[in-house]
Amino acid sequence: MSADETGEEFTLAERRLAEHLELLRASPPITTPQLVPRVIRGVRWQRAVRDPFLLVGAVAAALLEGLGVLVKPPTGKS
């Protein structure tokens, strides 16, 4: 068991593993520049669809609530 500069202790096998992982660290996966426009297109599209969808949902909820009041049997003593 030995420690590195962060104080973390490693077994010999873990130290060897860290050396192997250096291979992966040295060649990280790189994203394409298309990711940014893809995200922004997605945001624009979702925003365009989301607001009318929320509006329709709110109207439907209000209608149902109104209908509920109308068809609700009268309470109280007669």
């Binding site: 593993l17 192997h20 996966p29």
Partner: protein, 194 residues
């Protein structure tokens, strides 16, 4: 006349501007953080699905931006969404049949003639290691990627994984142990001491 370049704005300022409706501010945030989001996604789900996971991550972040409280760094918050999205994608992909990783990734390089032998060997070791990393259980893979590949500190990892510090250290220790076992049970000699 040339305009002086605008000083780099903080993430918090860009978030504020995004919440006021400025999409260009969010675009800047995506540009700034796309590298680490994509790397973490690719290491967890593999390169084929990494772009989709990254896109989902940013879309989720956009719709939840008003919930960001600023108690942790924006990057930490974003990585929290990244790893959750990646683990969900993995859980989803486990439900559909796929080509076994061992078969698909063992294919030789496209043009071995042009590459020197040492480069071929390095690439082969890298591919084998990536395969073994992907053979780890997902929660182990995530912690190992964040610590050993991305070099995040324990405190930040604890925030990303929403776990106590001690649990992070324990999980990382078990993850390294499992990867060492996987490499030992391999025909390729990784020269790992007992």
């Amino acid at each position: 006349m040339l305009l002086a370049p605008r000083a780099m704005e903080s993430d918090e300022l860009l978030i504020e501007r995004t919440l006021e409706g400025e999409l260009s501010a969010f675009e800047e945030l995506v540009e700034r953080h796309r590298g680490i989001v994509y790397r973490v996604a690719a290491r967890i789900v593999g390169p084929d699905d990494a772009e989709d996971v990254s896109q989902d991550t940013f879309l989720r972040a956009f719709h939840r931006l008003d919930q960001y409280r600023g108690t942790a760094a924006f990057r930490t918050w974003l990585l929290q969404i990244t790893q959750n999205t990646a683990l969900n994608a993995l859980a989803w992909s486990r439900r559909r049949p796929t080509v076994p990783a061992e078969e698909s990734a063992e294919t030789p390089d496209r043009d071995p003639v042009r590459q020197p032998v040492t480069e071929l060997e390095r690439r082969e070791r890298e591919q084998r290691l990536e395969l073994k990393l992907r053979a780890l259980r997902p929660e182990y893979r995530a912690v190992l990627v964040l610590r050993d590949l991305e070099g995040l500190g324990y405190n930040e990892i604890a925030e990303v994984l929403e776990m106590p510090l001690g649990s992070v250290k324990g999980r990382l220790h078990r993850a390294r142990g499992e990867l060492i076992d996987l490499l030992r049970n391999n025909t390729y000699d990784w020269e790992l001491p007992p």
